[in-house]
């Protein structure tokens, strides 16, 4: 009953508060524009938008950010389908069949399927988020310091076990994040660590300028570095796309999509809830599953099911990736760490007590994801029919310059302090270098947030357990989390053995 009441409060905060609804729609459109532009993604848009939310009510701030996150995930499919260039990593798989459909003159239908599938995935994920997060948070209220310590360990284990790419680079990213987290005054002895006599480092590295730097400024430097000498960027990125009009799947098609949406939403929700797993894992898994389910179809040749599955899965990840953040205070991916940054600006901290102390804000965020998923359909319709072709022709030189202006202004506004601009620029350069050497940002950001938590809970656990760590094994939740950590750590071994078996 209480949950229904909270849902009602959240939904009324979104649907019955005109400014929140307007910001949500604006955020969804902005997210779609950003998502459609290759090279830009939701963390960039969100990081420059966070300082703008500074003077807003927390609910309004979360509405615009939820809109951006949801919109950009769906918007990535536009350039994937029209240009075969994924706007975001979440739309990589959509290009396989989506662009083939476009080449066969069914681009409008591909975009229609993409938006309807995103709506389905998004709505289901918002409901799952609303049902699971408060439940997990209620269980987590029973957690003591040892449980939180094991939770942090599990977060790291899932990053190592579930991430894509080379494990050595994932672990290095995590260690860099941990190193960043120990800068400043230590939580126990109060001594200065790695501050090098700089006052600005005493409080540690501020999260939002760091994210603005890594995602915003880093991407701009990266775009500049890709520029060919003596050639204008606009020539390199000039795209010519035919204007398309959105077409929606008919009743029969929707009926055939139902089982695909069901399995893709399950995949998206499960993968999204695991810290560090990310959207790419979910979309490939969903695509793989639909290929197994529909063996009668030739995927990669313009099959509508090949668009429906990944688009449903990626929007399912959006909502479910908020479960660890809202319930446990652990950001599962870069986008959710930006939500954490936005909430910190408003003096709010996620975690088990979030649903007790700020339940209205928590349910407003859940309702915002629900509303943004519904809003995807009309916003995508307007975007595809009237704006997409113009957006895809935007001049990147101007766009990068303007984003940089927003980045430096946003960094300053976070703390009304010009040292925050310095932080953003330094992390922009670091982000650029790490990107070039393919060090992933996700584990780094997660470790930065979890690092301080890990150290504090380690100290508290030592006190609680009187220095006897075997006491952890007498705590059932700790044992459960430990087993989960072992499970995640064994995942790469499983992949390795599978690969080896396949090789033979």
């Amino acid at each position: 009953m209480q949950m229904l009441l909270n849902w009602g409060i959240g939904l009324s905060n979104v649907f019955l508060t005109p400014i929140n609804l307007l910001l949500l729609l604006l955020g969804t459109l902005l997210g779609m524009i950003v998502g459609a532009l290759p090279g830009l993604n939701s963390p960039i848009a969100m990081s420059i938008m966070i300082p703008l939310t500074y003077g807003m009510d927390p609910g309004a701030a979360l509405c615009i950010l939820a809109g951006i996150y949801t919109g950009s995930t769906c918007g990535g499919s536009v350039s994937s389908i029209l240009l075969e260039v994924p706007g975001t990593g979440a739309a990589v798989v959509t290009a396989f069949d989506g662009h083939q459909m476009y080449r066969k003159g069914k681009g409008g239908l591909a975009l229609g399927i993409s938006s309807v599938s995103s709506v389905v995935g998004g709505i289901i994920a918002a409901i799952v988020l609303g049902a699971c997060a408060p439940f997990v948070a209620a269980q987590a209220l029973k957690f003591g310091a040892p449980e939180y310590l094991m939770l942090s360990v599990m977060g790291f284990a899932s990053v190592i076990g579930m991430s894509n790419g080379r494990m050595s680079k994932n672990i290095m990213a995590m260690l860099i994040g941990l190193l960043i987290s120990v800068i400043g005054i230590s939580p126990q002895g109060g001594i200065k660590r790695f501050t090098f006599g700089t006052h600005a480092l005493l409080e540690g590295i501020p999260l939002v300028p760091m994210l603005i730097g890594m995602f915003g400024i880093g991407s701009i430097i990266s775009a500049i570095s890709d520029m060919k000498p003596g050639k204008a960027t606009s020539e390199a990125v000039k795209q010519t796309v035919q204007r398309v009009r959105m077409e929606y799947p008919d009743k029969e098609m929707i009926k055939s999509f139902l089982p695909i949406w069901a399995q893709s939403s399950v995949i998206g929700n499960i993968v999204g809830a695991i810290p560090g797993a990310g959207m790419t894992v979910a979309i490939f898994m969903a695509y793989d599953q639909v290929k197994r389910y529909r063996t009668d179809l030739e995927f990669g040749t313009g099959v509508p099911e090949g668009v429906a599955a990944p688009e449903c899965a990626n929007n399912a990840v959006v909502g479910s990736s908020m479960i660890p953040l809202l319930a446990l205070g652990v950001p599962g991916n870069p986008a959710s760490s930006l939500f954490l940054g936005a909430l910190l600006i408003h003096g709010l901290r996620t975690g088990p007590k979030f649903f007790v102390e700020s339940s209205d804000v928590a349910y407003t965020l859940i309702a915002a994801f629900f509303a943004a998923s519904i809003a995807l359909l009309p916003v995508m319709h307007i975007f595809v029919n009237y704006m997409a072709t113009y957006v895809l022709r935007l001049r990147y030189e101007v766009l990068n310059g303007l984003i940089l202006i927003l980045c430096v202004t946003g960094a300053f506004a976070t703390g009304n302090n010009d040292s925050y601009i310095v932080f953003a620029i330094v992390f922009g350069v670091i982000g650029f270098v790490l990107k070039k050497f393919q060090i992933p940002f996700g584990p780094l950001v997660l470790a930065t947030v979890l690092g301080s938590m890990l150290e504090s809970y380690y100290i508290q656990s030592m006190v609680t357990l009187r220095g006897n760590f075997s006491g952890m094994l007498q705590r059932p939740i700790c044992v459960g989390l430990l087993l989960l950590s072992v499970f995640f750590l064994l995942m790469p071994l499983k992949r390795f053995l599978k690969k080896r078996k396949g090789g033979h």
Partner: protein, 153 residues
Amino acid sequence: MKKNKYVEYLFSLVLLAIGAAVVIIGKDFRGNDKYFPVIIGAGMVITAVWMAWDDRKQDTACIDLAKINFAAVGITIVALAIYIALFRLIGYVLSTILLGSSIILGLRYNSLKGAIFWPALMVLIVFVIFRILLKVPLPVLLLQGGESICRCC
């Protein structure tokens, strides 16, 4: 090709050096405050060696130096460094317009008017939102007078 591989090894070496420095600095911290930095530093050293070992097994390097426009990156970083200095000297409005214009021109946008107009318009919009609506004290020294608000030095 070989150069790319060497740079990849060099990157691992830099990370190894950072890890070693973290261990050396960290072990001097008092009491329990030293454990985490030392563990992190040692982890970085081990992982850097692991990364180099992985690099050795890969046929191609993850980085392609030929595709990086070092001159443009250098100019951008210098422009950002100058921006920080100018921000303190001439305030937000002018320095940010200059930064935006220089980046747009640096990316070889072919219209000087556009390169000045778009950043100026963006700064104006952002200024109105932050300074007037959100009451963020963006420094506007040359336009309004006042003192620098540098707090980091």
